[in-house]
Amino acid sequence: MTTLRDRRDDPADPDERRRLSRRSFLGGGVAGLAAGALAGGLGGAAIAHARADEDAPADVSETAVPFYDQTHQGGIATPPQRYVVFASYDLTTTDAGDLQVLLARWSASIAQLQAGRNLGTVEPSRPSGVPTDTGEAADLGPNALTVTLGLGPGVFDDRFGLARHRPARFDHLPELPSDRLDPKLTGGDLSLQACAEDPQVAYHAIRDLSRLARGTAVVRWTVMGFGRASAGKGQTTPRNLMGFKDGTRNIKTDADLDQFVWHDGTDQAWMQGGTYQVARKIQMNIENWDADQIGDQHAVFGRTKQEGAPLSGTQEFDTPDFARKDASGELVIPATSHVALAAHENNGGLKILRRSYNFTDGMDEYGQINAGLLFIAYMNDPAAFVTMQTKLGRSDRLNEYISHVGSGVFAVPPAPATGHYVAEPLFG
């Protein structure tokens, strides 16, 4: 399949670029996750659809995702953009008013950034003025930026008087099997997930929003990710740094989103239309993996590498047959393979929406590649992740090649209406 990026990288094909439709992206991809052609990634279907719309703006750098008056925040069901900058924050204030103002100013600023506008001015008219926008994204366009704002369990502890608003199922994640968490990469009172088609746009969003937080919150940990390691609806399945397709069986229908992702507001009405975000920084033992034979790599994942087919089938989207045995009576998809342990068939029907990205932090102190997966998932009950990771942490064959080193869980409220801000009902 041809991706949008392929086309953008090809200067000989300007007409093709011009035909790509912003409107089709917004209509299909962002606003409703409706049917048919979804852009953002994008598959050939989207491009074909776009050809009918000659009036639309030229390329994805001009794509803007609306912030206000949506049922859900962006960056969850939005088709995954190519880049992420994720940041977790510690609140340094103990004043609920400071938190309230931060959430209000973040919300207004995110609305501006998603529209591709500066935060105030890059160049004040008075010589003694200090620029309010740092400027590095000034000419880049919105690039489908979404910034997703989450509240950590700490927001509901005794610091801010908000304990009565804590959803019953929301708390710090328990210690899970195989966890090797670094405290410096774990936790946080707030999270921002900035995703965009241009990494500098995502970086600028986090940088300027962090600047706005100075005196109220400080960055605790942050990861810059690339490669969109989980497919959204209508997207071809991308690959993680182990070279395997990731997200083949990801949630892609509205019915699944309603059942597994969106909070129904039962115990806390302010969470209706919201969700929970689990972020895990997963380091890969890249060199060991690279030296592993293909047969073992297949057995670890339970899928083939090139096609991504379950070992029980031949095509990527073949439904895995976890009962099938080979001539010698062994399961074709090993019971301890990643796909077998994570499959909804083997977890009482449980599904989560994955929205992960690859990352690299250069070399580590041991002379090894420091890289892996920033696993981000959305679900309407954090227990879903706990259940799945407890099982994976115990017996996943992949554990030989990965370590969960960072972790955070955040309640993601619904999007605000015009004139309001994220989590405003907490301060009513």
């Binding site: 400071d98 209000a104 008075r126 005196g215 801000y421």
Partner: protein
Amino acid sequence: MTHHPSRRARTTLGAVGLAGVLVASLAACSSDSSSGDPAPAASGGVSKVDVTLTSASGSDACDLSTASVPAGPVTFTVTNKDSAAISEFELLSDDRIVGEKENLAPGLAPVSFTVTLGGGQYQVYCPGAQNDTVAFTVTGKAATPTGSTQALLQDGTQGYGDYVDGQVAGMVTAVGALKTAVDSGDVAAAQQAYGQARPFYEKVESDVEGFTLPGTDPTDNSGNLDYLIDMRASNLDPAVGWHGFHAVERDLFQKKAITTGTKKLAAELDTNVGKLAELSKGLTYKPEDLANGAAGLLEEVQANKIKGEEELYSHIDLVDFASNVEGAEQAFAYLKPGLEKIDPDLTDTVSTRFDDVKTLLAGYEDPDAVGGYTTYTAALKASDSAKLSQAVQALQEPLSKIAEKVATAQ
């Protein structure tokens, strides 16, 4: 809003705390702001102006309930109905800031401030609005100039000038004592004297670092007094060599020996500090110089002290840190009476954040250590530098806004 100097406020407590205190009805505010409006609502002689920030199809507006009020006290109440683009409101007179509100965002409660205005033409400035500058008229007699914000700021600059002169005089004495201790050959005594002498330069560095010896080329470091007094080993000009405090520091704390060379360096430092005192005597300052100087001192903290690069051998970086902060706070304190009239919220925020930094620094006081603060070891740097840096960042951000305010004060 009336300012309460004793209130310990964070960024925008006003936004939260004032809900309900003020205007009951904010709905009827966005009237046409053409001339000839009826007299505005007034109670107890205070005129009221409602300012409403709105957005419609990507175009943001800043509307006033009235474009004209009689001279006297005026309360502006700013409501951000749904403008994500506008976060600031300023009342200007001839490009000078008379009053303002920041941290405005849709969904927050309205905020207010009260200013006493004399007759004349003013402008309302809402950066981000389509109509970002709106004319505002005050009828009646012009304001009397006495007690103006500018006068308060001018008083402050004079007080600050005296403070700088005092610090420079203290430095001359303390460097003289350092020279005496070095001449005595007693390393421990000289180390103590070094710790005593350092703070003076660090408190006023941004005011005194620009001096060159008369008649020398500004690009020639041999005539640059800051180079000759305070240069670190990492930034040496090979043509000029090493002089000053840090060359003495290396002998006292790394070599732990006083040689003929050390004595020569200390004597030369003593001479150059004397020259600096002569050249800097009676300097005068503009209000924005104080603000920029304070910002410069905090930049020094971030660039050199947090990283432990300033005092590479003695590791008394926290002494310099505390001195930079003290100098910055003094500059701020002298601006405070005027700044409070322009932007009481910002004044409170900066005061609070200075307090936060000082509280943090107080945890490192050690009367037995050289200079009175615990040694900034590699282990301490590893464990505490992020915390120290973030506290200073939280102060730098609001402090960086002061220069513009005081430069444009009326």
